[in-house]
């Protein structure tokens, strides 16, 4: 009888051990399947993934926002012409509720002097994020508290976030688009080296006209959630003693955005935060609407260079940003810029030689 009992206990012990082993293995297989099936293209995930490869406290300027920001802020120009160490941590149509968690995640390893916050989300009317955008803007975040926080902020009902948190329910149908490179581990930043600073070039030309609008101070109410999270960002940055600058990126479709931007400026004023609106018709810095845009919103490579020169100039004027070009600790910026200028030889920098 005792033998039988011992035998039974042994059998059950083995069973539970095997069950635990199977669960662990299944978890690993599912995690890898999720990794393979997760879209890895540029518009958000890559810059976040690459962010973790950056040396600690190596950024003076952190740009956070939408595609207007990642296509507009050419970090290579900021580096080569002004020695500004800037990183672009943006994703397509990134709302402020994602920006908030992205900034929180970034501040774990970086202590930038300035955060450039895209003003574009002030025009978004949606209360929650679209599925594809949620994946793009959250799947790169590694810190679980910020990743889950961002996912929860993106969905209306808490239970809807379960699919995003588990991962596979959201990305499993991507099997049709899986490429061989998706199986490679670790992620390769879409073919870039880890020196990359998050600038995503849009290499196309579309002819546009300068937006015609009456430059009023009339406001149009922002979406309540966007405003609430913008306030949270301002408060977080104040707490961390980081300067915030709101940026209105030039875009041909600006006329419909203007009044929303005014509302955002007003909110920012309450926190003593300023703005740089590059859509102001009085501002002349050589941007051509006929040749410097890739589409109805985004600056192309040439436009990003023109714009970034002006941005760098303004940043230098407003903030005491050091020139890091001779600093060994910032060599990745130099390498990134060199790689980029090699790729676009027709866009010659006026400053890269100066830094050498």
């Amino acid at each position: 009888m005792t033998d039988q009992k011992t035998e039974r206990r042994k059998e059950l012990g083995f069973f539970w051990m095997r069950l635990a082993g199977f669960c662990i293995l299944a978890g690993l297989v599912i995690a890898y399947a999720t990794y393979v099936l997760t879209p890895k293209y540029d518009y958000g995930i890559c810059s976040m993934v690459n962010f973790y490869d950056q040396p600690e406290n190596s950024m003076d300027v952190l740009a956070v926002g939408t595609s207007l920001a990642y296509a507009g802020i050419n970090t290579n120009v900021l580096w080569s012409e002004y020695g500004i160490a800037a990183y672009n941590l943006c994703s397509a149509e990134q709302p402020y509720w994602v920006s908030y968690y992205v900034i929180r995640e970034a501040l774990k390893t970086q202590k930038p002097k300035v955060i450039l916050l895209d003003a574009k989300p002030s025009i978004y009317t949606r209360d929650y994020s679209k599925r594809g955008r949620t994946i793009l803007s959250t799947y790169g975040i590694r810190g679980m508290e910020n990743r889950i926080g961002a996912m929860l902020a993106c969905v209306e009902k808490t239970e809807d976030a379960v699919g995003y948190i588990l991962g596979l329910p959201q990305v499993h149908s991507n099997y049709k688009n899986v490429k061989r490179s998706d199986f490679a581990f670790p992620l390769d930043n879409g073919g870039r080296s880890s020196n990359w600073k998050g600038y995503i070039e849009v290499d196309a030309v579309e002819h546009h006209q300068k937006p015609s609008l009456v430059w009023t101070s009339t406001r149009r109410n922002m979406n309540e959630r966007e405003e609430a999270y913008a306030r949270k960002i301002f408060e977080l940055c104040a707490q961390e003693e980081i300067e915030v600058m709101l940026v209105g990126f030039p875009n041909p479709d600006y006329a419909s955005d203007h009044m929303y931007y005014n509302a955002l400026w007003a909110v920012a004023q309450e926190y003593g935060i300023g703005e740089m609106n590059y859509n102001n018709p009085d501002l002349k810095f050589g941007l051509r609407y006929s040749s410097d845009f890739a589409d109805w919103q985004h600056l192309n490579v040439k436009g990003s260079m023109t714009f970034s020169r002006k941005l760098g100039e303004d940043l230098k004027k407003i903030y005491d940003l050091p020139d890091r070009r001779r600093d060994e600790a910032y060599v990745s910026y130099e390498l990134c810029a060199q790689e980029w200028y090699k790729k676009y030889p027709s866009f010659v920098s006026s400053g890269i030689r100066e830094g050498e």
């Binding site: 059998e11 059950l12 069973f15 095997r18 199977f22 293995l25 299944a26 297989v29 599912i30 399947a33 099936l37 599925r131 379960v162 699919g163 588990l166 596979l168 329910p169 959201q170 499993h172 149908s173 099997y175 049709k176």
Partner: protein
């Protein structure tokens, strides 16, 4: 709570853990707790209905053992239970109740069994509540008798590793059938209820065949999931599907398709009808005019017709359901009446000894089954007739590939066919006596784990679920 939901999996896992943690004598309380949670999540209408039915069943059982005039009381209790079902099903459109007819049939079956003296009434109302509302069979059956399920629920089971793994495999297989096969075909079969004027006849016939495959994957997949989880708990639920694709006759098809529903109607309606005084009188009367053989089977044929008519109406209170039931009833009645003739022909030509006859019989069976499906996918007779009519016009194959990929992308077709082949292959193995789930449970770890992981991964990657897939509800939960 759908059995496809994450919440359901959590509930099942929680119930399993609590079940095996509790002392063996009170393990049924874990099932009771799990079932109560499941019903509470379904809403107050389900709670009231289920508790009401359980109360009538409990009280009815006790009274039937004690009172005189048992038949009258039985009729009264059955009228209460079936009346509530009919009221909810056909009159109270706003009332949505979980497992309406499954609960009713199971409870009614219990009362009839108590009346017949086959089972004893239960003193503990919670035990009856569990029998009536066991959460794994609440959504879409199977319909079990007390003998099949009652004792199994109340007797605590020890953890048996082989059964546990076999149950887990069966559960995964069920999810595969539902999520990879059935839900993938939903898009293709949905065209039948839309505007069909642009579709050639061959596409519509294909879609009707796909509808049968979808229905099988959907319903039998759901059954495999609940049977699998039950098996993990040590409870063996009755079989509801026995590989109907291999049926050699329509009668056999109905012995393999929705077995417990057919079984319930046979036990509690057809046999009592044929053995009733009226049935026997009819048999004698018919024998005088139609001969002994025909006279003997006529009551059975008529009772069978009636049963199928009722099964049709059980599906919905529409003319399509009547046509569906009457069609099968007629086929079955004719086959019963002509059975002596078939037997004679079989003996004469020695057909049963010939191997080639079985595939031909399967084809014949499906030729007879497919027309009925035109009345199964919709409640609208004009729609069914419209599809049927369109099947005979416009047999244009010039853009066949384009037409096919128009209703479902190329990738999806490929996955659907591969999944169907897998289902067919596994069914074929089972048909020749090789049960893959049970074999797998006993297989070596280096065979078992890769197979289970591959199955799990296939479901999670190729299954239709999540926001991109929008998986369909089970087709039979509405009953």
């Amino acid at each position: 709570m759908s059995i496809l939901s994450f919440e359901f999996l959590l509930l099942a896992a929680g119930t399993l853990i609590i079940y095996y943690v509790l002392p063996i004598g009170v393990r049924w309380l874990a099932l009771l707790g799990g079932s109560a949670f499941f019903v509470i999540m379904a809403g107050w209408q389900s709670i009231i209905h289920l508790t009401g039915i359980a109360a009538v069943t409990w009280l009815g059982g006790l009274l039937l053992e004690r009172l005189e005039k048992k038949k009258m009381w039985l009729c009264a209790f059955l009228a209460l239970e079936l009346g509530a079902m009919l009221w909810v099903k056909y009159d109270a459109a706003s009332v949505t109740v979980l497992g309406l007819s499954y609960v009713t049939f199971q409870s009614a079956g219990f009362l009839i069994d108590v009346y017949r003296g086959k089972v004893k009434a239960q003193k503990n109302p919670l035990k009856i509540w569990l029998f009536t509302g066991y959460f794994l069979q609440l959504a879409q059956g199977p319909i079990s008798s007390w003998k099949e399920l009652g004792d199994q629920l109340l007797t605590g089971h020890c953890l048996e590793p082989v059964s546990f793994v076999s149950g887990f495999s069966l559960m995964l297989w069920g999810y595969f059938k539902k999520m990879v096969l059935a839900d993938r075909l939903a898009a293709a079969t949905e065209i039948l209820v839309g505007d069909i004027s642009d579709f050639p006849g061959w596409i519509l016939i294909l879609c009707v065949i796909l509808y049968i495959i979808r229905l099988y994957g959907d319903f039998s997949g759901g059954m495999d999931v609940v049977r699998g989880i039950s098996r993990m708990l040590g409870i063996e639920l009755p079989l509801n599907f026995l590989r109907p694709f291999f049926s050699l006759s329509v009668a056999e098809y109905w012995r393999r398709w929705h077995i417990t529903l057919g079984g319930w109607f046979r036990s509690y309606l057809m046999y009592p009808l044929t053995a009733s005084r009226a049935g026997l009188k009819l048999g004698k009367f018919a024998s005088r005019f139609l001969g002994k053989k025909t006279g003997r089977v006529l009551p059975t044929a008529l009772a069978t017709f009636l049963v199928f008519l009722l099964i049709g109406i059980w599906h919905s209170f529409s003319w399509n359901a009547v046509i569906y039931g009457a069609y099968f009833g007629l086929l079955m009645a004719i086959s019963i009446l002509l059975d002596p003739l078939w037997r004679k022909q079989n003996r004469r030509w020695k057909l049963n000894e010939k191997k080639w006859i079985s595939p031909l019989r399967m084809v014949r069976t499906w030729i007879l089954i497919i027309p009925a499906q035109f009345f199964a996918f919709t409640e609208s007779t004009s729609k069914s007739l419209g599809v049927l009519k369109q099947c005979f016009v416009n047999w244009d194959f010039s853009n066949a590939f384009g037409q096919l990929t128009g209703i479902m992308p190329e990738w999806e077709w490929m996955i659907a066919w591969l999944a169907f082949l897998a289902v067919l292959l596994v069914d074929l193995f089972c048909e020749i006596g090789f049960d893959p789930c049970k074999k797998l449970a006993k297989a070596r770890i280096w065979v078992r784990w890769p197979v289970l992981l591959a199955l799990l991964l296939t479901i999670l990657v190729f299954g239709i679920y999540g926001p991109s897939g929008d998986s369909s509800a089970f087709l039979y939960t509405q009953f």
